[in-house]
């Protein structure tokens, strides 16, 4: 327990110095932590933006995350992946906000293969030959809309792995699910995304 009165401090003079050093050291660690965390804000926001449905929600959630992170900085282990640590806080806060699991849509047959989107786009383009041109048939808005239409259990893994560049292992820790679940959701989620893209781009019926 820290002592507050002058008399007590006089009795323990050598350790007063140590205590002061320790406090100064902690302050330095904390400043370093805060600066590192703030340096990751762009990347945290980029992921948060698509874990949530809107810019406003993402901004709120990122603020809440940083406020929590700054208060509990001591539970971060230096040398570990801070970006994953921040995202773990963020996804937990997002769950606390009442997010429920969502079922995948029943479109098994239509998402049954991975070449689906290419084939649909190719059918709907004249004399199409160049893969990049196929991709360009999709506008930026099409893609943002399609991604937000993916049920969030699936969207979360796509956002973390394909947009946030997290490893399967990090994604599993952030979402607190087994790595096998990350892989199967990623696989299924990418197909659902492509299905959504086909719908937006060429008016494919669901």
């Amino acid at each position: 327990m820290a002592t507050d009165t002058d008399e007590e401090l006089d009795d323990v003079e050598p350790s007063e110095d140590e205590a002061a050093q320790r406090i100064a050291g902690q302050a330095r660690d904390r400043v370093r932590f805060e600066e590192e965390a703030l340096g990751l804000a762009d990347q945290v926001y980029r992921v948060a933006r698509h874990l949530t449905g809107s810019r406003e929600e993402a901004e709120d959630l990122v603020q809440e995350t940083y406020s929590r992170a700054f208060r509990s900085w001591r539970s971060y282990q230096p040398g570990t992946n801070m970006r994953a640590w921040l995202l773990r806080i963020l996804t937990n806060l997002n769950i606390d906000r009442g997010r429920r699991s969502q079922r995948a849509p029943q479109t098994q047959a239509l998402e049954a293969n991975d070449y689906f989107l290419y084939d649909r786009l190719a059918e709907n383009s004249d004399g199409l030959s160049d893969e990049d041109r196929v991709v360009e048939r999709l506008s930026q808005d099409d893609i943002v809309a399609a991604l937000s239409a993916v049920p969030h259990d699936f969207r979360d893994v796509i956002v973390l792995v394909d947009i946030g560049d997290f490893s399967y292992q990090d994604a599993a820790q952030i979402l607190d699910i087994p790595i096998g679940t990350v892989m199967s959701r990623l696989h299924r989620g990418r197909r659902i995304l492509k299905r959504q893209l086909a719908e937006t781009a060429v008016g494919e019926e669901a």
Binding site: E34, L38, D42, R46, V62, D114, Y118, V144, D162
Partner: protein, 76 residues
Amino acid sequence: MKDPCAHCEEMMQPYLDRILTEEEMVEAEAHLSECEYCRRRYRFEESLRVYVRQAVTEQMPAELRLKLASLRIPLD
């Protein structure tokens, strides 16, 4: 014997995620080198991933950066 293109299609996601074994990798590449049908679709998938990532990447609003900095706990 499986249809080689169907098999190749199954390997596409793990191939692009770089989680195939050495052996599977060689197998996929051997098929891709002689099959334009699959090659086009792999290339499409690869550019799609890049394109999706670019399309959905949004800059963090400048005010948010300031708000976050203001959440720092002041030194005593």
